[in-house]
């Protein structure tokens, strides 16, 4: 290889090195900001504040919208979990998005649903609604049975039927803490400027529920693949998001746990039905909405509640994991492309000047940069080019920095009230932080790269392969659960 080529190679390796240092440096800073943000949050909670919220007749009522597509394994216990929430007034709207399994029939049978002719002002064009049901046992439970149109369409249909001013969107596989609504409504109550909020979402794979579907155990998952994701959720969905939220740059409210004022949802035109994943696009649209109304004098905010309120199932097989991460990558890429005018545009404040470029450069491009690094490594090895120390350094940096961020996320966790009681579990989490760079991380990068390819070259929108595991109550585990009379499905699907 000639000298010019060597210079080019060295420049590329140097740029990749700088890229990694900057990326992990920012993540590290975000985690630290997040730690301070969480401390501030806990200091701001007043004595008996949550009790007052839970008992006040003036606490705003909430409409919980659950979009469900082929969720027969989880839907009954998810709804039971939501119905036992500790909150003065709420309704639950399950939108069956044209499921091909028994989702809707299970709901009808278990909760004694009866058809009802609901009258409402239609705000969104959605796929046709086939029927609406109301539970005879739980008057605050409604099931909207509609034709399939993806999650955004189902959420829009659900919001159309919502009666209350605050909408909570959760996924059909989510379990909520009993006080989750109280935690989440707090920013809306104490800050008029808050138009939307999200909170900490954690893997549900190690969660146990009692016979009333209340969460009683919150252990990390047993298996290694979900455990790696647990550490990733700690790092990216907990500390980093608190950090990003502190600087008004949180672009991704999890669709599994989003709260939004209904009037704002209407003003945005609802969730974008053409998007790969509606939650990322909804958050970016919210930032756009906030900044476009700022000039008119309206000050609005998105809040992040650093209390773990929601648990969602993470994939336990590589196939399901690949499908999910592929989908997320497509969602981010599509949304950032649609909103590219926000990048480096001071009109959009921190969202434009930091968040959109940050997500594009470090959440979309990083997979490609890492691919480039591996290609260079192969070229160097195959052609026996004399840059081994530089190359080795590059990989060591990648490994060290990634590990540093993950381990710090776990360590920070150990300083909070959400610490692990068992030392063995703490060791497993720390080990996961060290080991995720050997295999898990590379497979994640592969999933993201295929996501980019699938969107750019195939225009793929659909989620793809997904797995669900039934949440079992104590009685169901012991085989002593008794479903309601005339419930025809036995115990397996409850």
């Amino acid at each position: 290889m000639n000298a010019d080529m060597m210079v080019v190679l060295n420049i590329i390796i140097t740029l990749i090195f700088i890229y990694y240092v900057v990326m992990h440096g920012i993540y590290f800073l975000l985690i630290l900001i997040g730690a301070f943000g969480q401390k501030r949050y806990h200091q701001g909670i007043q004595f008996h504040e949550f009790k007052r919220i839970s008992e006040s007749s003036l606490t705003p009522p909430v409409s919980i919208v659950i979009a469900a597509y082929n969720e027969e394994k989880v839907i009954v216990n998810t709804v039971r979990n939501v119905l036992q929430l500790h909150y003065p007034q709420f309704e639950v709207i399950v939108v069956n998005d044209g499921s091909e399994d028994n989702t809707v029939q299970l709901l009808i049978d278990y909760f004694k649903m009866k058809p009802i002719d609901k009258v409402f002002k239609k705000h969104f064009e959605t796929k046709p609604v086939r029927a609406v049901y109301q539970s005879a046992n739980h008057p605050n439970l409604i099931v909207v049975d509609k034709e399939n149109g993806h999650r955004a369409d189902a959420n829009n249909a659900g919001v159309d039927y919502a009666r209350y001013p605050i909408i909570a969107q959760i996924d059909a596989d989510c379990l909520l803490e009993q006080d989750a609504l109280i935690y989440m409504i707090r920013p809306f109550i104490y800050n008029r400027k808050v138009i939307a909020a999200t909170g900490i979402v954690r893997p549900a794979n190690g969660v146990e529920i009692d016979n009333s579907c209340k969460i009683v155990k919150r252990d990390p998952p047993e298996k290694w693949l979900p455990l790696f994701q647990y550490v990733e959720y700690l790092r990216a969905f907990q500390w980093s998001r608190i950090g990003l939220s502190s600087i008004n740059s949180m672009l991704s409210m999890s669709g599994a746990f989003t709260f939004i004022r209904k009037e704002v949802y209407f003003a945005l035109g609802g969730a974008n039905i053409d998007s790969v994943c509606d939650d990322f696009e909804l958050t970016v649209s919210l930032h756009r909405y906030i900044h476009e109304h700022k000039k008119k004098g309206a000050i609005m905010e998105i809040a992040f509640v650093p209390d773990p309120g929601c648990y969602t199932q993470v994939p336990e097989t590589l196939k399901a994991f690949w499908s999910q991460r592929n989908w997320w990558q497509r969602a981010i890429l599509q949304s950032l492309w649609w909103n590219r005018d926000m990048a480096f545009n001071p009109r959009y404040g921190m969202a434009g000047m930091f968040a959109v470029p940050f997500f594009f450069i470090f959440e979309v491009i990083s997979a490609l940069v890492e691919l480039l690094a591996y290609i260079i490594a192969i070229v160097v090895l195959v052609f026996r080019i004399d840059t081994p120390s530089l190359l080795m350094l590059q990989f060591i940096f990648g490994f060290l920095l990634g590990t540093l961020v993950s381990v710090c996320a776990v360590l920070l966790q150990a300083t909070t009230r959400m610490r692990q009681e068992k030392t063995g579990t703490l060791i497993r989490l720390l080990l996961a932080g060290f080991l995720e760079n050997f295999g898990y991380h590379q497979f994640h990068i592969y999933s993201r790269l295929t996501g980019i390819y699938d969107l750019l070259f195939k225009g793929k929108i659909a989620y793809g392969y997904r797995e669900r595991t039934t949440y079992k109550t104590q009685d169901e585990k012991e085989g002593t659960a008794s479903p309601p009379d005339d419930f025809p499905y036995g115990r397996d699907l409850v």
């Binding site: 090195f17 240092v21 200091q43 701001g44 007043q46 004595f47 008996h48 009790k51 007052r52 006040s56 007749s57 003036l58 606490t59 705003p60 009866k114 058809p115 009802i116 002719d117 609901k118 009258v119 409402f120 002002k121 239609k122 609604v129 086939r130 029927a131 609406v132 109301q134 005879a136 008057p139 109550i189 104490y190 008029r192 120390s389 530089l390 350094l393 060591i396 940096f397 060290l400 920095l401 590990t403 540093l404 381990v407 710090c408 776990v410 360590l411 150990a414 610490r419 692990q420 009681e421 030392t423 703490l426 060791i427 720390l430």
Partner: protein
Amino acid sequence: MNLFLLIAKALVILFGIVVALSVWVVLFNPRAMRREASAKRGRMALRESLLGYLRGEIHVSAFSTAARDKEPLLIGLVAQIAEELGESARRKLIYIFETSGTHHLVQKELTKISQSRSWQQRQRTATYLPYIAINSVIIPPLLRALEDKVLMVRFSAAHSLSKIKATEAIVPILEKLALPARWPIERTIEILNEMGSDAIDTMLQYLTFPGAKPDGKVYAISALGMQHTPKAIPLIITHLTSSNEEIRIHCARALGNIGSLEAALALCEAMHDSQWEVRAACARSLGLLKAKSALPFLVSGLGDPAWWVRYNSADSLAELGDEGLNALKEAFTHDDKFARDISRQVLQERNLMISGQGVTQ
């Protein structure tokens, strides 16, 4: 290249620190858990002592050591127990802080509320003062705290003043926390409501005060409604025709909450208000009053252009018993499709009718 090596060395050192930190956390985790358990036991023991004191089994002097060693713990526990056991426990627990061994704690907190540079500290003190000192000592600093530049401190001070039923704080609260653009109205109404019946006369006087802020009036009217105060009805009715839309809405809601038929006629008349929110609130309140005289007004509300007016009218008709239900059934022959649909929905929601099929949109 040297720079690379330098950063590489720095990272390796940093990584070493993280590894060392990990090992340290793992090794000390059991110890930390033991200390946490021990702290919990200490807390439980102190709690038991406080409960023992309330039962008359332990003398107040026993807490002078706790006041030295576990000052924040003692204050926090006293507040918690007082909240659990009520007013008489609160008064008795305050006595702990009046004894010679613990009185300095009160002085310290009183200094903090006015002089601390940390707003969280001022807020915390404003929250806990009612549990550690008698009213005459804490009311003046709490009233001054209503002027604090940080809203959360003002809010905590207002809460504490309402807890001790300091009625002299009502007007300052109405003036200082009537900030609907910045501060949710519901929170202030809750504070006023917590004042209890002692606050009624002051709030009624405020409504007649010529310089009263419209926002303050809204809060007072709502709190009077939550207090179910019949003697407020005439005054609230006069405000039902106010030029301020917010006042009219809250008057309509308050009249429903008070629950006296005396307000029915005024609410029926207000069903013709130009603002749909007022009409919706009137329709809802007429249902709460079970005012049968309102039947024609509610039937007419079934055809209102606003969904909430239609829904509340139908729901209130269902509250009127057979006459209302018959009116809803008769509405099936109504010319207005919206009136027919909303009547059907309300009957179905109450399980008084089974849906045929399909969805009406």
